[in-house]
């Protein structure tokens, strides 16, 4: 998995590509924790992400707990295979999830 981040005016955007699994999830958690200072809004751009397991969900939930409301955590460009896992686990109810076009 590759991670790229961008921070602007309290919004941290994290772009993920590849597979978010138990091997790569700790890297995402680290990136999130290191850059969370002063962040009030989080965007995960999942356009190039093809897979997530519960290890990835754990990090998304942790991210959500760091923010105030479901509107402050957005998962965008979410591929069908990832969206299915988010729906199955009720994550689409606790954060803002936008499907890929």
């Amino acid at each position: 998995m590759n991670i790229a981040t961008e921070k602007e005016n309290g919004t941290l955007t994290i772009m993920l590509s590849g597979k978010l699994d138990s091997t790569s999830a700790p890297e995402l958690e680290k990136a999130l924790t290191e850059q969370a200072d002063g962040v009030t809004s989080l965007v995960f751009d999942l356009g190039e992400l093809s897979y997530t397991s519960s290890a990835g969900l754990r990090v998304f939930l942790k991210a959500r707990k760091m923010m105030r409301s479901r509107d402050d955590v957005r998962l965008i460009h979410t591929a069908p295979s990832v969206l299915e896992v988010l729906e199955m686990t009720g994550f689409t109810e606790i954060m803002t999830v936008e499907a890929a076009e």
């Binding site: 699994d21 138990s22 091997t23 093809s50 897979y51 397991s53 519960s54 290890a55 969900l57 754990r58 939930l61 942790k62 959500r64 707990k65 479901r70 295979s81 896992v85 199955m88 686990t89 009720g90 109810e93 606790i94 954060m95």
Partner: protein, 133 residues
């Protein structure tokens, strides 16, 4: 039937997934079913790697077969007796604040398979999943 025996360590996950994928690809398994099976394999293998052998190291054996369009995968370890199916399903309707981090792995296994069966025999945990492919 094919089988793979590896040290039950989370860093062996890629090897386990590659083994499963090469079997499924040879069966012309649809991509979607393959990804769902990969997800189950990750959740089960990582569980074994994290919990089966707390004070020692051991192995996990993964068997895979396909018959009449159904993939059958069996995970065997000689670690602590543990039936993951006894674990309560997480409440997926809770708010973010109320939710606990963790517990979703076996839930995803149940959701992405047709059957899941656990037994403890000859000192080993045996977890079998099936899924139409």
């Amino acid at each position: 039937m094919q089988k793979l025996t590896v040290e039950a360590k989370a860093d062996r996950l890629d090897e386990v997934i590659a083994f499963v994928d090469s079997f499924l690809e040879a069966q012309n398994c649809p991509m979607k079913a393959q990804m769902q099976i990969d997800l189950c394999v990750e959740e089960i293998f990582v569980n074994i790697a994290n919990y089966a052998y707390p004070d020692t190291t051991g192995t996990a054996e993964i068997r895979i077969a396909a018959e009449n369009g159904v993939a059958v995968l069996t995970f065997i370890d000689a670690g602590l007796p543990y039936d993951p199916l006894q674990r309560d399903a997480p409440d997926i309707t809770l708010s973010a604040e109320e939710r606990e981090i963790g517990g979703l792995g076996i839930f995803l296994v149940r959701k992405n398979t047709d059957t899941v069966f656990y037994c403890y025999e000859d000192g080993k945990n045996v977890l079998t999943i099936t899924k139409a492919i």
